[in-house]
C-alpha cells in the first residue's frame, strides 16, 4: 500500500489532491456527481470584501493545450460566503482552504478576520496574483515590498495558517517568495495563471471582453514545475504546487519539484471527474516509480 497522506500547516491530508480556487466553486456542483470527501481538501472560489459581478463576457477562450479566463473574481462577498460555509459540512466533512483577494490591504485583512471563526477553514490562501482585475490582485503580487506588506498585515490578524498565492508574471519569482517568507507567510501557493490574449480574426478584436486573461491548462505545466523547483530552493516554508496538473504523473512531478500538496484547476473544468480519477490512480502510478510514501518525494528532484 502506498501512503498518500501529506501534511500542510494545520492540516493532515489523506492525499495531496486539492481542486484549485475558481475551478471548483464551493464544491456543490461536483458533490452532485460524486462524494468529494475523497479529496485531500479543496480551495473555494476567490472571495473579496464586497460582492463582485466580475468582468463582462466572453470570459473564456480556448488555447493550444489550455484556456484563458478573465472571470474577474465574481463572488458574493465575504459576509455572504461565511454564512454559506455553515452548510458546507453537509457534503464536505474535511477542512477547506479559503481563498481571499482584495483591492487594498484593508480588504485582505477584513476577509482574513472574518474567517478566523470559521472552523472548517484550515488555511487561508491569499491571492495577490489575480491577473483579471484592475488596481488590485496582481498589483500586490508583482512587487516584493507590496507582497510583504499584505503578508504581514494578514498574518497580524489571522488565526489560521496563511499561504500566499504567487504570480508567474514576474521576472524573479524567488524574490517575491522570499519577501513573503520573511514577512511571516506559513506557506506559498504557485503558480497563478500566466497573462495571455487571443484575437478573433473575423472581428479583429481581442476575443475576451477583458482583452487579456489568465492562461491555464497543460500548456503552463512546465513553467509551473520550474517555478516550484526554484522557489523550493529559495525558501523553507511549504509549497502548494499548481499549474496545468492533469494526471497522477503530473502530481508526482510537481511534488518532486518541491510541492507538499498539489492543486488542480483547468483539468477539472474539462473533466469534472478528474480529481477522483487521479486520486484512484495515484497508488498504482506511485508504485510504478518505486514510491511507498508520497511525503518522501517532496523536493526529490533536487
Amino acid at each position: 500500500m502506498v501512503d498518500l497522506s501529506v501534511t500542510l500547516p494545520g492540516m493532515e491530508l489523506d492525499n495531496p489532491v486539492i481542486p484549485a480556487s475558481g475551478c471548483f466553486g464551493y464544491g456543490r456542483e461536483f458533490a452532485d456527481l460524486y462524494d468529494i470527501n475523497i479529496l485531500g481538501s479543496f480551495v473555494f472560489k476567490g472571495t473579496t470584501k464586497e460582492p463582485r459581478f466580475g468582468n463582462p463576457t466572453p470570459r473564456i477562450a480556448e488555447t493550444p493545450s489550455g484556456m484563458l479566463n478573465a472571470v474577474g473574481l465574481q463572488n458574493p462577498g465575504i459576509d455572504v460566503v461565511v454564512k454559506q460555509l455553515a452548510y458546507l459540512n453537509r457534503y464536505f466533512r474535511k477542512k477547506v482552504i479559503a481563498n481571499i483577494s482584495g483591492f487594498s490591504i484593508d480588504e485582505f485583512v477584513y476577509c482574513a478576520e472574518k474567517l478566523n471563526d470559521v472552523e472548517q477553514v484550515g488555511i487561508i490562501e491569499v491571492n495577490i496574483s489575480c491577473p483579471n482585475v484592475h488596481g488590485g490582485g496582481i498589483a500586490f503580487g508583482t512587487d516584493a515590498k507590496s507582497a510583504a506588506q499584505v503578508t504581514k498585515a494578514v498574518k497580524a490578524v489571522a488565526k489560521k495558517p496563511v499561504f500566499i498565492k504567487l504570480s508567474p508574471n514576474v521576472t524573479d519569482i524567488t524574490e517575491i517568495a522570499k519577501a513573503c517568507e520573511d514577512a511571516g507567510a506559513d506557506g506559498l501557493s504557485l503558480i497563478n495563471t500566466l497573462l495571455g490574449m487571443r484575437i478573433d480574426l473575423k472581428k479583429r478584436k481581442p476575443l475576451l471582453a477583458n482583452k487579456t486573461g489568465g492562461l491555464s491548462g497543460p500548456a503552463v505545466f512546465p513553467v509551473a514545475v520550474r517555478m516550484v523547483y526554484q522557489v523550493y530552493e529559495a525558501v523553507k516554508i511549504p509549497i502548494m504546487g499548481m499549474g496545468g496538473v492533469s494526471s497522477a504523473k503530473d502530481v508526482l512531478e510537481m511534488m518532486m519539484a518541491g510541492a507538499s500538496a498539489v492543486q488542480i484547476g483547468a483539468a477539472g473544468l474539462k473533466n469534472p471527474y478528474i480529481f477522483k480519477e487521479i486520486i484512484q490512480s495515484l497508488p498504482e502510478t506511485a508504485e510504478k516509480y518505486g514510491i511507498k510514501r508520497l511525503k518522501d518525494i517532496i523536493g526529490a528532484g533536487h
Partner: protein
C-alpha cells in the same frame, strides 16, 4: 463518469451545418433545450451543442462549423467514440406553455426547437414554427417541422426563400399565446421587443466547464446573476436583462 457516445451518422444538411446522430446513455437528458458537452481529441475545451432529438439511446444534434473544433467534428466518421457530458442546463419548461406556442428559431438555434415541438405535441399543445436563416443555402429542418404537423414559415435575410427579412417580419402570420425561442442575441432581443407574449428565451455564451463551476458564462438577470450553463440557457421573459 462522463458518458461514451458513438457516432452513428454525421451528415451535411445545409451550408456548414451537420446533423450527427450518436448512440449512448441519454438518461440524464430530461428536457428539450438542454445541451451536451462534447470532448474533441486535440481540443482543450468541450463543445456545447444543444440536443435536437432523442429516440431512446439515440441522440441527434445539429451543429454549424464555426471554428477549428466544429470543423474537426464534421470529419468524424461513424464509429468514433466521444466523451460526452449529457443533460446540461435547465432546458425549456413545457408546462408553462400556452395552448398555441410559437417556436422561433434562428440558424443553429433551430435544432432544440425540434425536440421541444415533439414534447409540446405530446402534451396536447398546438405549436407553430418560425425559422430564420440568412439565405436558402442555410435553411434546414423546414420539412421536419412540417412533418410534425406544425405550420412552418421560413424567413431569409436575402429573400431567397420564404419571407424576405428577419423572423420578426413574419410574426403577423401567426396567432400565438406563448413564445419559445433560440437563436443569436440580436434575434432574441428583436423578438422580445416586437412581442409582449410570455415566453422562454434560450441564450448562447462562450462556456468553460458547462456545469456551473468556472463562472465563465454568467449573465445578469432580474433575479440576480445566472450561469448560462447551469441556471440557463433558458431564461423566462421576465428574468431577462438586455
Amino acid at each position: 463518469m462522463a458518458e461514451k457516445f458513438t457516432v452513428v451518422t454525421n451528415i451535411n444538411i445545409a451550408k456548414d451545418v451537420f446533423l450527427m446522430q450518436l448512440y449512448g446513455n441519454t438518461e440524464k437528458i430530461t428536457r428539450p433545450g438542454q445541451f451536451v458537452h462534447i470532448e474533441l481529441p486535440g481540443f482543450f475545451l468541450r463543445r456545447p451543442i444543444s440536443v435536437c432529438d432523442l429516440n431512446g439511446y439515440k441522440m441527434t444534434i445539429v451543429y454549424k462549423v464555426f471554428g477549428d473544433g466544429t470543423q474537426y467534428m464534421s470529419t468524424l466518421p461513424a464509429g468514433t467514440v466521444l466523451d460526452v457530458l449529457p443533460g446540461l442546463g435547465n432546458g425549456f419548461d413545457t408546462e408553462k406553455s400556452g395552448a398555441r406556442p410559437l417556436l422561433i428559431g434562428g440558424g443553429v438555434g433551430v435544432p432544440p426547437l425540434y425536440m421541444l415541438a415533439k414534447r409540446l405535441i405530446r402534451d396536447g399543445k398546438r405549436p407553430a414554427a418560425l425559422l430564420g436563416f440568412n439565405s436558402a443555402d442555410d435553411v434546414f429542418f423546414k420539412e421536419e417541422f412540417e412533418r410534425l404537423g406544425l405550420k412552418t414559415v421560413v424567413a431569409t435575410a436575402d429573400g431567397s426563400m420564404g419571407v424576405k427579412g428577419v423572423v420578426t417580419d413574419a410574426l403577423d402570420q401567426f396567432a400565438f399565446d406563448y413564445i419559445f425561442t433560440c437563436g443569436p442575441l440580436p434575434m432574441l432581443k428583436a423578438v422580445y421587443e416586437k412581442t409582449d407574449a410570455d415566453g422562454q428565451y434560450s441564450f448562447e455564451e462562450r462556456m468553460g466547464c458547462g456545469f456551473g463551476a468556472c463562472m465563465g458564462c454568467v449573465c445578469k438577470t432580474q433575479k440576480g446573476y445566472k450561469r448560462i450553463c447551469k441556471e440557463g440557457p433558458v431564461l423566462k421573459r421576465e428574468e431577462i436583462v438586455w
